[in-house]
């Protein structure tokens, strides 16, 4: 199957001004590769600050104006510049953000979900919003709450509801399971699997390698702004000897269940 999303050698620098007018370029991504096909769940794994979320935002064309890009992002077989990618956002591609700060703090949940429903082209935003929340076990009383009145888990469910009002062809889920209890992590990931089985390409950005192995078709491992390895989830087993790249092996061995083994990492 041909890839829906293909990122090749993506580099992102942030231009900053130091004291006076000296320009400084801060490299954030130094070479990211990622492909995702319809029906596939791709896990993007790496430590905090490795540039995982940044990659997701870059694919949607959401980087701030001082970001400078290099490399190619191909969607549906056509190379797209950031402006073109932003036009796709919401229609074809969708972000599932990581924290409650992605909800507007001064508007009640209901107004925000209704706005999302309108953007998703629903004819009756009010009903669509209620249904989307009800689907995730949130009653109509949640519509009147403000984001700061939600628990972390509720906020995530609200955002999932907003992001899936129009079935996207590509979903980029940014740390969707951080801080959730194991039970909720499983159901959330199962939902992504379901979306993929329905024909969506799902990229799950996470640092919880173990949980995502159950649902992922491929695991892309990145470190310090570049991808270092693409691995088969089945290779993450035993002492990790089936993993090709030493960094992937070290990452696997460093997991608590594998004895927090860190000798392989310099």
């Amino acid at each position: 199957m041909s890839a829906l999303l293909e990122v090749r050698g993506l580099e992102v620098d942030f231009v900053q001004y130091e004291r006076g007018l000296r320009r400084r370029s801060v490299p954030a991504l130094t070479g990211m590769d990622l492909t995702a096909s319809p029906g596939e769940v791709v896990a993007l794994v790496g430590a905090s600050g490795a540039g995982k979320s940044l990659l997701a935002h870059a694919v949607l064309g959401l980087l701030p104006p001082n970001a400078v890009e290099c490399g190619t992002v191909t969607y549906d077989g056509v190379p797209r510049d950031p402006a073109a990618r932003r036009r796709l956002a919401g229609r074809e591609t969708m972000l599932l953000p990581q924290s409650v700060s992605f909800l507007d703090p001064v508007n009640p949940v209901g107004r925000q979900v209704r706005r999302s429903a309108r953007l998703a082209g629903r004819s009756d935003p009010r009903r669509a919003a209620e249904e989307a929340l009800a689907q995730r076990g949130l009653g109509p009383e949640v519509l009147r709450l403000y984001p700061h009145e939600l628990s972390g888990g509720m906020a995530r469910r609200v955002m999932v509801a907003m992001a899936t009002l129009r079935a996207p062809r590509l979903l980029l889920a940014d740390e969707p399971t951080t801080g959730l209890p194991p039970e909720t992590v499983r159901t959330t990931l199962a939902e992504f699997r379901q979306l993929a089985d329905d024909g969506c390409a799902v990229v799950v950005v996470t640092h919880e390698l173990l949980a995502v192995l159950d649902v992922a078709d491929r695991v892309v491992i990145c470190s310090a702004g570049r991808t270092v390895d693409v691995a088969d989830p089945a290779d993450f087993t035993g002492d990790g000897s089936r993993l090709g790249h030493p960094f992937s092996r070290a990452l696997w061995q460093a997991l608590p269940v594998n004895g927090l083994h860190v000798s392989g990492v310099s």
């Binding site: 507007d104 703090p105 001064v106 700061h148 972390g152 509720m154 209890p181």
Partner: protein, 368 residues
């Protein structure tokens, strides 16, 4: 629950009232001290040009009649006692009860200040939004430059400039007063009044507009760079949609708070603007009272202004809490584990948003 809410409201109202009373007492004492140490001699100021015509005996008589020889504390006590009975005293300058002077002149000032307040608020907010959305572009730079220029321009100078251009050179507006000179009160039309109001109000609003522009611009930039706008864009929201649905309300909260907090400044500005345009409002009366050592009138105006500014600030608080639910005292619902999560779970730290930042600091913005 409802009773709890009611008592909480009541307690809040009583607390505010208590604060107002303390504030009034402190302001009265401070103003009185200032007036008691003023270098202007009240008798000289009262008699004016005829000072040579009266002898020292007469001066002493006037001073005694006014009780100027009494110790300041005693005078303050006498005045305060009358105040508690609702009597603000007699204005020496206008030879009328203080309440009557304030009552007659406040409507003119209120029209002036309300017009200026609305103009600067609406105009400043719109310009601030434009500047914030077009950050770094030509429009933003022009608006910023303009705002900085206005922020550093004194009221009276802007007033004189406008007076020169529109009244003297172009002749579009009258040079002075609130009504045409030499026209009977019953013949004055609303149009006349508006024509006389426009230039002082414009002066006053132009000076008040700069802080609103700059604070709104900052709030808009902050909101445009925020996560929730990124999420909105990810859902395909256009820039116009982002501004209307995801930025305006966020930026309005600090602007409204600032605009209400600036009421004191507005009052201070009206003193100068009314002086420049010979507009017979409360500001002009303040100047007359201060120059004439008219202690009862000045204290009356000071107390009145205090109440005015205090009420304005309280209204600002209420409006701000309406716009930004995080600062309101709404009892928190929702955190009841209703969604089936064990209460003791380590909630994601992001579940608690940081306190709103980038809001203007109302303290320290006194009468200029």
């Amino acid at each position: 629950m409802a009773v709890d809410l009611l008592t909480a409201r009541l307690r809040g109202a009583v607390g505010r009232l208590l604060r107002l009373v303390l504030l009034l007492a402190a302001v009265a004492a401070a103003s009185f001290t200032l007036m008691a140490h003023s270098p202007i001699d009240p008798v000289d100021a009262y008699v004016g040009g005829d000072i040579a015509a009266i002898g020292p005996e007469q001066r002493a008589q006037i001073a005694e009649r006014w009780g100027l020889g009494d110790p300041p504390l005693e005078r303050f006590g006498a005045w305060f006692g009358q105040l508690l009975q609702g009597d603000l005293g007699q204005s020496l300058t206008f030879n009328q009860p203080v309440t009557q002077v304030i009552g007659e002149r406040f409507p003119a000032s209120l029209a002036l200040m309300a017009t200026a307040w609305l103009l600067s608020g609406l105009f400043g907010f719109s310009l601030g939004v434009v500047a914030g959305v077009r950050q770094g572009r030509v429009a933003d730079r022009a608006i910023c430059w303009w705002a900085y220029t206005l922020a550093s321009a004194p009221t009276f100078w802007v007033g004189l400039l406008l007076l020169y251009v529109f009244s003297v050179s172009l002749g579009w507006t009258p040079v002075c007063c609130a009504v045409p000179v030499g026209v009977l009160a019953e013949d004055v039309t609303l149009l006349d009044r508006l024509q006389h109001l426009i230039l002082p109000a414009l002066t006053l609003s132009i000076v008040g507009v700069a802080p609103v522009v700059l604070h709104t611009r900052h709030a808009v930039i902050h909101a445009m760079a925020s996560d929730h706008v990124a999420f909105a864009r990810a859902q395909g929201e256009s820039t116009r949609g982002v501004v209307v649905h995801h930025v305006l309300r966020n930026a309005a909260a600090p602007a409204v708070l600032l605009q209400f907090a600036a009421l004191g400044e507005l009052f201070g500005g009206s003193v100068l603007a009314e002086q420049v345009f010979s507009y017979p409002g409360l500001g002009a009366a303040t100047t007359a009272a201060a120059l004439g050592q008219d202690v009862p009138l000045l204290l009356g105006i000071v107390l009145f202004t205090t109440v005015f500014v205090f009420v304005g600030n309280q209204l600002g608080d209420v409006a701000h809490a309406r716009l930004d639910p995080r600062v309101g005292r709404r009892p928190s619902r929702g955190r009841r584990g209703r969604d089936g999560e064990p209460a003791g779970l380590p909630a994601a730290p992001e579940a608690f948003p940081p306190p709103p930042t980038g809001e203007p600091e109302p303290a320290g913005r006194g009468v200029r």
